[in-house]
Amino acid sequence: MSSIRKRSRVVDVLLRVLPSVVIFALCLVAWELWVNIRDVPAYLYPSPSDIGKELRDEGLSLAVDDLRWTMTEAVLGFLLGSAVALFTGIVFVHAKFLERVFFPWAIVLQTVPIVAVAPLLTIWFGFTLTPKVLIAALICFFPVLVNATKGLRSISSQAVELMSILSASKWSLFWRVRIPSSLPYVFAGLKVASTLSVIGAIVAEFTGADRGIGFVIIQASYRLDTRLMFAGIALSSAAGVVFFNIIGALERLALRWPDARLDR
């Protein structure tokens, strides 16, 4: 009974991802054919099979030496940016005045081009972990803040009245009502942030690093080593997808009730 159910769930998942896998495979085939038929220079446009070879030869060392580093930066930045954003959202919801004062600055923070801020941070902090984590945190901050604020506000006036009839404390209202009703929004924000954090880390590495996928890509570009560049791109996006899905799995664990997840 349970094995049947399990198998059918596996089949379900396969069927769900199959279309996107097929499209991806078709694109690779078209790319491969185009490179071969047009006879374009391989050092400019490497074929998927060349990139595959590169990944086979270099993938492991890239993953261990550089991707691990980049993802450490991304995850730390994600945690820092999301935590600060959640805290700020909680403050905003309890003090409208502070929101009026500081939200415009949150927008400014969001519109500041991070490619311009990253070199600054590198000047200040050197080739260390810090500027990368800060850039990843910066890029994660806004989507989590906007979603958390919206979620914390998503309670109905009747829910507040119900808690008031129960003579509940502000604390109780916060933990029993505001926090759970904000979770669907918070997770929507965290999922966006999880993908952005990898981008943030890589951009920060461009401006000064001695390891990491961003460092590998920028070094490879000086040598016109497009194969290695593509290998780096492939690895970092694969890691981003994995990170996104880990957050998605946490979301499924946390949001068990029907229609809880916003993007379904």
Binding site: Q158, E161, I165, L166, A168, P180, L255, W257, P258, A260
Partner: protein
Amino acid sequence: MTSSGGIAIEGVSKQFGGSQGVTALDGIDLNISGGEFVAIVGPSGCGKSTLLRIVGGLLEPTSGHVYVGGKTSGQARRDVEFGFVFQQPTLFPWLRVLGNVLLPDRVLGRRNPNNGPNSKDIAQELLRDVGLEGFEDHYPGQISGGMQQRVALARALSYGPNTLLMDEPFGALDEFTRDRLNLQLLEVCNKTGSTVLFVTHSIQEAIFLADRVVMLSPRPGRITRVAEVPFPKPRTLEIRYEPGFAALAGELRGLLVGDDDIELAMNQP
């Protein structure tokens, strides 16, 4: 359960939005004795919800006073003497049915007279009373609107409040569900001896449930009539076919037929 204290509403008025604002209620006087079931009827916008919120200590009147069992309504609210059933079920979607009924217990802790090792049993018994046995582990999103409203009723009763305030709780339900819930409500109230203030826009429902029916007129909300309902309790659905029932319903309906309230009166079942 002990019989609860009454409600004294003394000269209650409520204006919204400053001096030139809407006068929602104007000089409401009403005395409700402990254990009495009073229904408030009026067209929408006449201040029924506002009155209920003022009685429940959720809203301050512009002038006048409300005493519940000798306390101000604010004090009575802080002492958790009210059960409130809103027009929408207002369940928490992340809690299962049983969890929603147990919410007051979780919030109140030792302040809940039913708190203790068997508070879960009490919640389960209440769910049985409102006909929801076997749905304890469903989420609100998995049951119908009528069932959700019954969960809300069980939740309001779960901590044994002296006074039940109900704001058109069955307004959105179909007739059959509504009949069944009306019967269940009478049964439960008979058991607990709570004082009930029940808002509805259905004259039929009001007469069927209440010991007294209070008619409210709109803009500004004023009491136009307080009618005793002559049928003894316990009641069955059949009383609705007695001549006295139709006569009283007709009489009260006549009060509603003002200038722009004709449509509402025509729509009454």
